[in-house]
Symmetry: C2
Subunit: 298 residues, 2 copies
């Protein structure tokens, strides 16, 4: 990214998200499992999902307090658990994550498997406690937990992970590939601005726009991820470049070529932008994030 204001915004948000995560992890106490969870969460990352959630809140209700960041942190916890399990030898067998040895390399496969699983109820508790602290109405609190669980579950992220594994080494049509992307990474990215909107008590029109925004950004983000796996280096990515090709993963560039993939990502980014415009949501942050999703270099 060359835009200094965007970089500054992302960095400031990331720090607030990391503060919220640190407070959550501090309550875990000691032990091997807590250490493995802290290692996995502490390894860093862009914190894009929580930043999207907070941006959804900002677009509707202005400056967020710490409980908005706490709610947002639940999304990063779910994302982190999925990375821990994805990297396991029985899954993608990836020894590097976010520039560090994967959790199972440091803490062993059993602890990594269990740490991943333990993060899920931790994320649910975090989201529910944050929603309560925000004083949200009962149906909204329940909606937040249900939407988070749906995005994380068989109909969302985990369902997509399995489709993705199943597709390794065999041809996939573009339609099937977009389905994988929309579930595997798309579901959690899509629910992020939605949770922010719920926390901000957005009306139905705005919620619909945030949904469209989130889904389109999610797909654009993952297509861009596929492209970066081909065009970038391990040092820049913080994970093994070329890994998708090596695993014969179904990727957008592999199916449609890099040019068409980049075009598709830009189209989805435009859909996301237009959805907000249609309902009069003016948010510099949401606008910047969708540009970032397709123009980032890692």
């Amino acid at each position: 990214m060359t835009d200094p204001s965007l970089a500054g915004y992302l960095e400031a948000e990331r720090r607030s998200v990391d503060d919220a995560l640190a407070a959550i992890l501090a309550r875990l106490g000691g032990g091997v499992l807590a250490e493995a969870i802290r290692y996995a969460v502490g390894a860093g990352g862009k914190r894009l999902r929580p930043i999207l959630c907070v941006a959804g809140y900002r677009a509707v209700a202005g400056e967020p307090g710490p409980d908005v960041f706490r709610l947002a942190a639940a999304l990063e916890l779910i994302h982190t658990y999925s990375l821990v399990h994805d990297d396991l030898p029985s899954m993608d067998d990836d020894p590097v994550r976010r520039g560090w040895p994967s959790t199972h390399i440091v803490h062993g496969v059993p602890a990594a498997t269990l740490a991943g699983a333990a993060i899920i109820p931790l994320a649910v508790r975090t989201a529910l406690e944050a929603a309560g602290a925000l004083g949200l109405e009962e149906p909204v609190q329940a909606r937040i937990v249900l939407d988070l669980c749906r995005a994380a579950g068989a109909a969302g992220m985990v369902g997509g992970q399995l489709l993705d594994l199943d597709a390794e080494g065999r041809p996939v049509e573009l339609e099937g590939l977009e389905r994988i992307h929309r579930m595997k990474t798309g579901a959690l990215l899509a629910v992020a601005p939605r949770l922010g909107g719920l926390a901000a008590r957005a009306d139905d029109r705005v919620m619909t726009a945030l949904d469209v925004y989130g889904r389109s950004l999610g797909l654009a983000f993952q297509i861009t991820d596929d492209i970066l796996d081909v065009t970038s280096s391990t040092a820049v990515l913080g994970k093994m470049a070329g890994r998708d090709t090596e695993l014969e993963k179904a990727t957008y560039p592999a199916v449609a070529g890099v040019e068409a993939a980049a075009r598709r990502a830009r189209e989805e980014a435009e859909v996301a932008r237009a959805a907000l415009e249609a309902v009069g949501v003016r948010s510099e942050e949401l606008a910047a994030l969708v540009v970032y999703a397709v123009e980032r270099d890692r």
Copy 2:
């Protein structure tokens, strides 16, 4: 069990729990992941955790409706996911569960890992939706979700699983062993009557008694499980007998001998019974279940 009325009660409750589980699984739709989840949940089992939950409800509020069984089913979902992950090659590497091939034997390790993880948010959704359908007050709904997540997480079941794996092949004191048992199996067994009590709007005195009951029953149950692993056969257990010894697991009979273990289980059963009596809770079901926990043959 030789008591025909207890056997009949357990069988009738098990059927109602299975009906609730079937309704939950029917909503999952198709696909490999849903099949793996159905396989894991459908393999049967005693359904002791949901039966305990419903018994906690019965003790306070009388005859339960379908939503109580739905809430109770969430406990069986969490229990099932823990078995799926426990049996993985990187964990206990157990090919048999409940008399059937383990989920990873039938569906492969990746699908079993993901199915296990996908069951967690499904369980949370199930509990929250059931609590909502029961018309429980907002703080009680939240309490149910938080207690379930705590029991399932790092401070409960999953934390205990890791302590259990860590203890393999090395000496463990009785105190450490009880800690493992209280976390690994005890946490989810203990929260079961508690959730039933919450659903029945039990007062604080009764809730405290249900907590003591659940914790003591949980420990008694696991000690009995350890004893059965030594004294029973694979055909009767539906899982590999002698497996604990083979894995050099920390078990109560191994540390203290079968006699002392059986005595300790009976002591805890008495604590459970006395806790209910102290607050005047008269429940044939809860009384029968604690007898069952220590006198069962599998």
